[in-house]
């Protein structure tokens, strides 16, 4: 892709770019030719031809191809500079650590607490000044943040690829729905119960599958997710595909929030008159849950157990050789991840007030996984950003109506191609450079290179890739 000599003759380089762009657009038109020009009329069983869409496609792909090449080249140059650094064994690169991002700068500075306080204040004010639609989207985004953070423990931190995460989410949601429906239990009782059920199921699944690695683990978890969905569909007690409706929202000390309290809020705080105040309560519950999750995950990552997970992700055999109980580490990761899914599920059921098995499809697991990977595996701010992007983006794209998911799919590819490590890469080894002297802790260029790789973070395989 890179062609350093092109900088010498800009005219020729531009010409080459145009040629490449034309070629790409020609190729895409060729690809799109039958599907976009031929149209079937099913009632008369005839076929018609119309090339009216092709010129537009050609123009668009021409521009996109040139942009694509430009950005890919930029990305490649950055790779080169790192590689050069590596081969030269330059100590500076080693000492500097990862490039400071706005996030690490803010978080490392003394403004950390004021910034966090302002952010929190903003989040706390948001539901009072926004329309119901925005609050709804925010609740949903926050539910996915907590799901993403939970899965992050399993996939990002521990390196266990779980494609059936949605099963535990469903367990939480159905625990509340069923207990509420049949026993009349309230939200606050069901919240820990939902988490407990999900955790137990996580352990139950965890026991047999800890022997499996990589994609085999992925397929077993996928199967588990599908089994859960199918059983929920087939059982009578869950009312099958018709789902459970009229799930009660979370209560607040038995008060009717939509009564005088609402009138007060509408009159004095400028709350939207169409707002369901229960949604505001749900918003604060899920916000609290997310904050709790962040604290827990952050503490866990830097605990003995968290280190064990990281070691397990990097190399299972070596981690066992170090005396880490692999079985226990894997099981706790699985179970803890499931706990958050269960909690999020209970909140979700109370938020939506109606659930059915179609919500908990395989695609949902994939979306949560995408949140983790796209945000940056193992990185807490990354996962938060990932959830916001993946949940808010389709909402933003509503303006494109029928092209919404088309653009969403393309953006997913683009984000991955240009940020393969995720939007915010995990920077867990930042503190290492303080140890290093001129030569780094292990000394020597070889150690330096390994360190840089480690610093570059998310370029880690999940699970040994099976071929050593």
């Amino acid at each position: 892709m890179t062609n350093p000599s092109s900088s010498q003759k800009p005219g020729r380089a531009i010409l080459a770019e145009i040629k490449a762009g034309l070629l790409a657009s020609l190729w895409i038109c060729l690809l799109a030719f039958p599907l976009m020009t031929l149209e079937i009329n099913p009632s008369s069983h005839t076929i018609s031809f119309s090339a009216s869409r092709l010129p537009f496609l050609a123009g668009a792909t021409f521009v996109l191809a040139i942009l694509w090449r430009f950005f890919l080249r930029r990305r490649a140059f950055q790779g080169v500079s790192k590689a050069v650094l590596k081969s030269e064994g330059l100590p500076e690169g080693l000492i500097k650590g990862p490039k400071p991002t706005w996030l690490t700068v803010v978080m490392g500075s003394r403004f950390r607490y004021p910034v966090l306080a302002i952010l929190l204040g903003f989040m706390a004010l948001l539901p009072f000044v926004s329309p119901p639609y925005l609050v709804n989207v925010m609740v949903k985004a926050l539910i996915y943040v907590s799901l993403g953070l939970g899965l992050n423990v399993v996939v990002g931190v521990s390196g266990l690829l779980n494609l059936g995460y949605v099963a535990f989410y469903a367990m939480g949601a159905y625990t509340y729905a069923l207990l509420g429906q049949y026993l009349g239990l309230g939200f606050w009782v069901c919240l820990p119960l939902g988490a407990l059920v999900a955790t137990l199921m996580g352990l139950l699944l965890g026991f047999p599958v800890i022997r499996l690695s990589g994609d085999y683990l992925a397929i077993v978890t996928l199967s588990f997710g599908e089994i859960t969905r199918l059983v929920l569909t087939n059982l009578d007690i869950t009312r099958g595909p018709r789902g459970i409706s009229n799930i009660r929202p979370a209560g607040f000390f038995g008060l009717d929030l939509n009564g005088p309290i609402k009138d007060f809020l509408v009159a004095n705080l400028g709350v939207d008159k169409d707002m369901d105040i229960n949604k505001i309560l749900t918003y604060f519950i899920i916000l609290g849950l997310v904050i709790l999750t962040i604290i827990c995950v952050f503490r866990l990552e830097n605990s003995r157990l968290g280190r064990a997970w990281l070691a397990m992700r990097e190399d299972e055999v070596a981690c066992q050789a170090m005396g880490i109980n692999k079985t226990r580490a894997k099981l706790t990761a699985f179970a803890l991840g499931s706990t958050w899914a269960g909690l999020a599920g209970v909140v979700f059921a109370s938020h939506l007030s109606f659930i059915n098995p179609t919500i908990f499809s395989f695609m949902e697991s994939i979306m949560i996984l995408s949140i983790v990977v796209l945000g940056g595996m193992g990185s807490i701010p990354g996962v938060i950003l990932g959830a916001l992007v993946l949940i808010v983006l389709p909402e933003q794209l509503r303006a494109f109506s029928q092209y919404r998911m088309l653009i969403f799919g393309a953006l997913m590819v683009l984000m991955m191609v240009f940020r393969p490590g995720g939007l915010i890469q995990s920077a867990r080894e930042v503190y290492l450079h303080k140890l290093g002297g001129q030569d780094g802790p292990q000394g020597g260029p070889a150690g330096g290179a390994a360190r840089i790789e480690a610093l570059n973070g998310a370029g880690r395989p999940v699970e040994g890739d099976g071929r050593g």
Partner: protein, 377 residues
Amino acid sequence: MKSLVKFLATLALAAFLPLAPTAQAQDGGTLKIGFGGALLGDTASYGLSNLYGIEYAAAQVNAKGGLLGRQIEIVTEDDSCRPDLAPEAALKLANQGLKLIMGHTCSGATRSALSSYNNRVILISSSATEVALTEDGASPYFFRTTPRDDAQATIQLKYMKQKGYKKVAILHDKGDYGIALAEKMQNDIKADPGDIQIVLFQGITSGEVSYDDVVSLLRQNEAEVLIWGGYYSDASKLIMQMRDKGLTTVVIGPDGLYNPSFITLGGTAVEGSVATGQADLSNSEAAKAAIADHNTRHTEEIGPYFFYAAGAAQALFAAVEKAGTADDLDAIKKHLTEDTVETVMGPVRFDAKGDVIGAAFALYEIKDGNFSEIKMD
């Protein structure tokens, strides 16, 4: 890279700002009617057939000068038939200040959308069939032109008894529409079995590559007649594979099969199959004109919910015209429930619960590639 992260982060934050659609009062320009339903995903075809019906009704009114002197504009939001996406679609519509909304496409999505609308809008669905949506009485401004799930079993059972079938297999597609139909039939038979015996009651997986195993099951249980709960695409595939294997079991299906696409997909294999459907429209001039109009605009065949949707929209427009306002829900509701409107799907008036009155079902048998009505006493 750093700048890219910064850019994306700013983008993500800024993304929330335009998310807040300003609740604007309807200006004097166009009169906006909302449509919420499946426009994407595997159920998109059902949603689109609803939308086309509404667009047809709106175009008719617009050509005659509009409603209350204003041109009708349809605002669409997709929910992909998913209950978890429907609230956003619903709130997005409601937040624009829309008071008149058509939708949603599927029962589950309608259910969760209703709680988001929170009785702020008139909602008319033309394809949500679940009984409880109107039966529970929790949504005074919800109406539907599609018949309910429980309406079809009665006439189908009557037909089976008339024909003297004894061994009945009931299959459904595990969807909310299909399973409701199947269970209603099962309960009706159990309540008054006569000679009829249910030999099989199972759900099959929609969209499978092959239904040969189900065919074997039908053969093994010697079913004379198959009651199908589900849509036409799975049914046509299943029937074709039955006929391929030489199985002659008669198939009786719901209004999900009363659709030209069923015959197009099934070809000669579906010959002799029976479906319940709305009253015969083939002699109605209005319906003929609507079909002709549809075929000039779209290449696909007229969808299963086109007439229900067009009828719903016409009834709504008539009620708004008579009420003289597009904002007063109670006034519009009054006209919807008190006046009978002549629409492309026949006369439409709603009862107090919100169900359409007098949408009687007829039975059709497929003969020579056409639905022909079975006259019953």
